[in-house]
């Protein structure tokens, strides 16, 4: 390459191409994130232009906030169950789709129609969370008009006079929401794991079959170790999603920005939004944001560390 090409002209070109994207990104993404830290040490209401520096008062108040602690606990529950259930189901289905076909000479092939399963399973992924909220709001209706209660009444499991109050039942509400997340996510991870399984050379499976490995053995000794990287990445993604949950909780459950009944489905994001837009405690809301961000970072690092294994090259 000539020196002219690497001279000033190039610098101008690089700067020219980077300036607009960087400016937008800094203004609307990075700067607000940074500001969140700053505001979290103030008693800013969001309405007035003035505010005082209050040190760590917001964080101290956060520790004593029963609602926030409950929300934190719910997030942690989701953090464990969402990734575990979604990944297990997706792995199970992916293995069925890719290797559940009849064993025989070739040994490993997908069940017939596997392409269609992938198309159908993935579809919820393209639906917006608003549609999910409407759909599952109707499914979980607390009368016979709800799909779930309708079925259960038909089957005679549930007394038509007292149908199950899914989203109003303190003990059920979180699990109902959990199911929506799993329903939404399994297809994506199925496709992800399928793609990973297809990159595994066929002769590895053949060798395992020739050595007399059964299906379960093939799965645990061959497939899973080779997929470990994807499983790990998925766990981090799902963990981040479980820390969020704002749209579903705020639209499906009772209360201002959701969280009902009686804070039983509260997550940190809904508490944050309520404090910001409803109670006008912006500084306090920012402190929650910082706590969530910190937890998300810790979560990612811990997941990646805890699931670290020796990388298998193939």
């Amino acid at each position: 390459m000539s020196h002219v090409a690497q001279g000033r002209g190039k610098g101008g070109f690089i700067a020219g191409f980077l300036i607009a994207p960087l400016a937008l990104y800094l203004t609307f993404v990075i700067w607000p994130y940074v500001q969140t830290f700053g505001y979290s040490f103030t008693n800013w209401t969001g309405q007035s232009p003035t505010f005082d520096f209050v040190g760590v008062d917001n964080y101290a108040a956060l520790m004593k906030d029963e609602v926030f602690r409950g929300a934190l606990w719910h997030n942690l529950l989701l953090l464990v169950f969402v990734p575990v259930i979604t990944i297990l189901l997706a792995l199970f289905f992916a293995f069925m789709v890719n290797a559940g076909g009849r064993g025989g000479a070739g040994g490993v092939q997908g069940v017939s129609g596997s392409r269609w399963y992938k198309v159908i399973y993935f579809f919820p992924q393209v639906l917006s969370l608003a549609i999910l909220a409407v759909l599952f709001g109707a499914i979980y209706r607390s009368d016979e008009g709800g799909l779930l209660n309708g079925f259960l009444v038909k089957l005679g499991v549930v007394d038509p006079q007292h149908p199950v109050e899914w989203l109003n039942e303190p003990n059920f509400v979180l699990w109902c929401l959990l199911f929506v997340v799993v329903w939404h996510g399994v297809g994506f991870y199925l496709v992800l794991f399928s793609a990973a399984m297809q990159t595994v050379p066929k002769d590895i499976y053949e060798a395992a079959l020739l050595d007399g490995a059964g299906r379960a053995q093939t799965f645990f000794r061959v497939t899973l170790p080779l997929l470990w990287d994807s499983v790990q990445t998925s766990a981090v993604y799902l963990g981040i999603a479980a820390m969020d949950m704002f749209v579903l909780v705020s639209t499906m459950t009772s209360g201002q920005f959701g969280g009902g009944p009686d804070h039983h489905s509260e997550v940190m994001a809904t508490v944050l939004m309520r404090n910001f837009l409803y109670f006008g405690k912006s500084g306090y809301a920012c402190a929650m944001g910082v706590v969530m961000l910190t937890l998300t970072m810790i979560l990612s690092v811990v997941t990646l560390r805890a699931t670290r294994r020796e990388r298998i090259e193939f």
């Binding site: 609307f28 070739g106 579809f123 409407v134 008009g145 079925f151 992800l192 066929k202 994807s230 970072m297």
Partner: protein
Amino acid sequence: MTAESTVIKAPGEAPAERSGGAGQAKEREKRRADGMVLNVFSHGFLALWAIMIVLPLIWLVLGSFKTDAQIGGSALSWPSNWHFDAFSRAWDKGIGGYFAHTVIVLVFSVPLTMLFGSMAAYVLARYPFRGNRPVYYFFVSGAMFPVFLALVPLFFMVKRFDMLNTYQGLILVYIAYSLPFTVFFMHSFFRTLPTAVYEAAVIDGASDTRIFFQVMLPMAKPGLISVGIFNVLGQWNQYILPAVLMQPQTSEDPERYMLTQGLIQLQQQMGYETDLPVLFAGATIAIIPMLAVYLSFQRQIQAGLTSATLK
């Protein structure tokens, strides 16, 4: 060994049986029966989950043809009102307008996201300069944080620009929040393009800008399509950003709700007005374009998403 393994690789059992003795044939028979059982087993679970996905959606669509009393009465009733009046009522309730607002925003935000994302990704992927890596990680790290952590300051930032409840405000914010993924994806795509093409273009005397627009962008078309679909889906389905930024600020301010936001609005409204078929019809209207986009591009969507996340 090579001959043997090609036999094994062939689909179907016949060639393999030829290669084995009587004992092996019995073994294969056993495997085959085993395979049949597992086939039923696996098909059973796979079909069950498929039903659990399709059934609620069909039920929702059928709900738009029911009467309100029917919806409240029993979930398993068959619709009696095969007219599209719920759809037209949903349209009048504002779904049409929400639809239009979303289209207006996306017509600008998606192409601009692609343009800015590709420009940044291209420079970062192919031009070594000081600070290249930090800038790249800076861009990509944005994908890690949930959006609403920045919501409070973002709201006031947009307010300061006087762009609350405006299309241009939301367009700029959509672009900014789509950049991390777009840059990440296009970065890995531009890296795979051959250097020889670039060098040939340089020898022909093309400027860097021209090379980008006339050589590199056309070559990156498959990648652009994947990211483009992803951005369409992501921005079409966005809920939190418009919910915070697209509220009418004064009573004279017109409503500029996005489709997702409008749907939630409709859900609350119809709960009071007890006209649930309208809600079901509204949700159906919101699902249909997604279904159409998905079915026409499902190969690219699946390939694009998996290649982006597996790398």
